[in-house]
Amino acid sequence: MPTSSKIHTAIQIDNLTKIYKPKSKQPLTAVNQLSLTIESGQVFGFLGANGAGKTTTIKMICGLIEPTDGHITLNGYAIKNRAQYMRQIGAVLEGTRNVYWRLSALENILYFGRLKGVPIREIRGRAETLLKELDLWERRDDKVRAFSRGMQQKVAIACALISDPPIILLDEPTLGLDVKAAHTVKQWIHQLAQERHKTVILTTHHLDMAQEVCQRVAIINKGKLITNQPTHELLNVFRKQFYEIRIRGDLNGIQSQFDGRMSINEDNGYIILTGEVKNTDELYQIIDLLKAHHIALVAVNPVEPKLEDIFINMIDSQEGTSS
C-alpha cells in the first residue's frame, strides 16, 4: 500500500540499472544507477540523445523490461503488486502504432478499456468523451489504418487514457506528426497536467516543445543522469551565460578565434556572434579583441537560452569530461 509520506510522489526510481548481456558480445550498460523522484501533477521531460537509455528506462517503468538492479514505485506501488502497479500508468510508446489497424477507433478504445479493467457500464461513456475531446467522434467507426499518422497517435493516446491512469508516459508522442497534429498533442499534454492533474513523463527530441510544456527536465547520457531540475531553474543558470554580440562589417580574419565557442550568423548586414560567455572578464576579452581588429561593435545583449542549446552544451561537456 502507498504510504502517506509518498502521497505527492508519483514516481520513485532508486538506483535503476539495466545491463544487457548479449551472447558473444560485451555487456552493455543501458541505464546506470538512475535515481529520480517525480512529483504528481507535473509534466516531466526526460531527455537524451539516441541510445542514451531513455526508452529502456521508460520500458522498465512500464514493467516491460526487468531491471538488473534498483527499483521503481508508482504512487507507492512496486511491480510485485503488478495489478495495482499497472493501474497507475498509461503509455504511448515510440516507433510503433500501439493500436490495432484492423479495428476502428472506437473498437480500439473499447478493447483496451476492457483489457485494463474499466467497468463495462463506464467504458462507452469514457470512450465517447475521449473521442469528442480528441476530435475523432465523427470518425469513430473508421478503421485506424485509414487514419493519418496524427489521428492514429490520437487514438493511441485515447487508448492510454481510457482507464484514467494517474501517470501517463509519452515516448516521442509527436514523432512523424505534422505541425498541426503536434500542436494538438502539445496542448493535450498541457491540459492533462493542468486540468486533470496527471503526471506526464515526456521523452522527445523536440526540445522547444519540452521547454514549453515541461515543469521539470532530466537529461540522461550514456545511461547516466546528468541533470534533473525545474526547467526555469535550468534556463536561469544558462541565461546568465549566453550572449549575443552584434557587429557591423566583417570579422577581419578572426573567425577562427570563435570556432567551437560561438555561432556566427548574418542578419541584415550585421554579423551576430552567439554563445556561452562564462564570466564578465571573458566578455571584456571578446570586446577588446573586436576593438583591436577595428571591428564596429553595435550591441551586446544577454540572450534567452533555449533548452536545445543547454542540452547540446551539457552533453558536449559530459562527453568532454568522460573522454
Binding site: K18, Y20, T56, K59, C62, G63, L64, I65, E66, R82, A83, Q84, M86, R87, I89, G90, A91, L93, G95, T96, R97, N98, V99, Y100, W101, R102, L103, E107, Y111, F112, R114, L115, K116, G117, I120, K143, C159
Partner: protein, 262 residues
C-alpha cells in the same frame, strides 16, 4: 475486477472483428485448405477418392486445422503484434498475461470452428461423406483442444524470445498435417515415426475421435482401452508444460528486453 470471462470475451471479440476484416483472405485460405485436403486424398487414393477413407481423413483434417490455427495465432499473429506495438500495450494490462494468452487461444479456436463449419459442410456435401455426428465426439475434441492451448503457450513463449519463428512454424504445420495420422494412420508408420507422431498434440485426439465416431466405441470403451486416458494425460501435460514454458520465456524476454522487439 477483471474476470477471466471478460478477458476471454474481449480477446474473442477482437479476434473475430479482425478475422472479418480479412474476409477475402480468409475465403482464399479456406479454398486453399479445401484444395490441399482433396488433392492429398486424390494422391493417397492413387487417382481416386476412396469413400472408406474420406470420413476418417476429414476427422483428422478437422483436428489438424485447429492445431494449425493455434500455431499461426501464436507465431505469426504474435510477431505481428510485437511489430505493431500492441503486444507491449497488452503486457501493460493489470490482467495476468497468461490469461490474456488463454483468451487469444480461445478466440483462435472459435474462429477456427467457424471456418471449419464452412469447409467441412462443403466437403461433406461435395464428396457425400458419411460422418456420424455423435455427441461423444465433443468431449474428446475439447480435451484435444486443451492440449492445443498448452501447445500454443509453448509456441507463444518461444515467439516472445525469438520473434522470427515463421519458417519453423511452417515446418511444424506441415509436420502435423502429414505425420499426425490425418491421411496415413499411425499404425502404418514405422515404429520410430509412430513414437514421434504420438508425441504431437493432435495425433491421439484424431485416433480417439475415429474410434468413437467411426468405430462406434463409447467413452467408457475408449477409457477402458486406455486411449482416452492417454489423451487426457497428454493434453494435461501439454497444458502444464505450456504454462511453465510460457512463464519462463516471458521472464527471459523481459530480462533481454525483447518483448517489443521483432
Amino acid at each position: 475486477m477483471i474476470t477471466s470471462l471478460n478477458i476471454t470475451l474481449n480477446e474473442t471479440r477482437k479476434g473475430l472483428i479482425i478475422l472479418w476484416d480479412y474476409k477475402f483472405s480468409l475465403l482464399m485460405q479456406l479454398l486453399g485448405m479445401g484444395m490441399v485436403f482433396t488433392g492429398i486424398l486424390f494422391f493417397v487414393g492413387q487417382g481416386e477418392f476412396e469413400q472408406a477413407t474420406l470420413a476418417s481423413s476429414l476427422l483428422g483434417f478437422i483436428v489438424t486445422f485447429y492445431a494449425m490455427e493455434t500455431i499461426s495465432n501464436m507465431s505469426y499473429a504474435l510477431t505481428a503484434e510485437a511489430q505493431a506495438g500492441t503486444l507491449e500495450q497488452i503486457y501493460m494490462s493489470p490482467a495476468p498475461s497468461s490469461l490474456i494468452i488463454l483468451g487469444r487461444s480461445l478466440s483462435s479456436l472459435i474462429s477456427a470452428t467457424l471456418q471449419l463449419v464452412i469447409i467441412a459442410t462443403v466437403l461433406l456435401i461435395l464428396f457425400q461423406i458419411n460422418l456420424p455426428l455423435r455427441w461423444e465426439i465433443l468431449p474428446i475434441l475439447l480435451i484435444t483442444l486443451f492440449g492445443f492451448i498448452g501447445f500454443g503457450y509453448v509456441i507463444g513463449g518461444i515467439t516472445l524470445i525469438f520473434k522470427q519463428v515463421g519458417p519453423s512454424a511452417e515446418i511444424l504445420r506441415s509436420m502435423l498435417l502429414f505425420i499426425n495420422g490425418t491421411f496415413l494412420p499411425v499404425e502404418y508408420m514405422p515404429t520410430w515415426l509412430k513414437t514421434f507422431a504420438q508425441l504431437l498434440p493432435s495425433t491421439q485426439g484424431i485416433l480417439v475421435m475415429r474410434r468413437v465416431a467411426l468405430d462406434g466405441a463409447s467413452l467408457a470403451d475408449v477409457w477402458a482401452d486406455g486411449t482416452l486416458v492417454y489423451l487426457v494425460a497428454h493434453s494435461g501435460l501439454f497444458l502444464l508444460l505450456g504454462l511453465f514454458i510460457f512463464g519462463y520465456c516471458e521472464q527471459v524476454a523481459r530480462r533481454q528486453g525483447t518483448l517489443g522487439q521483432y
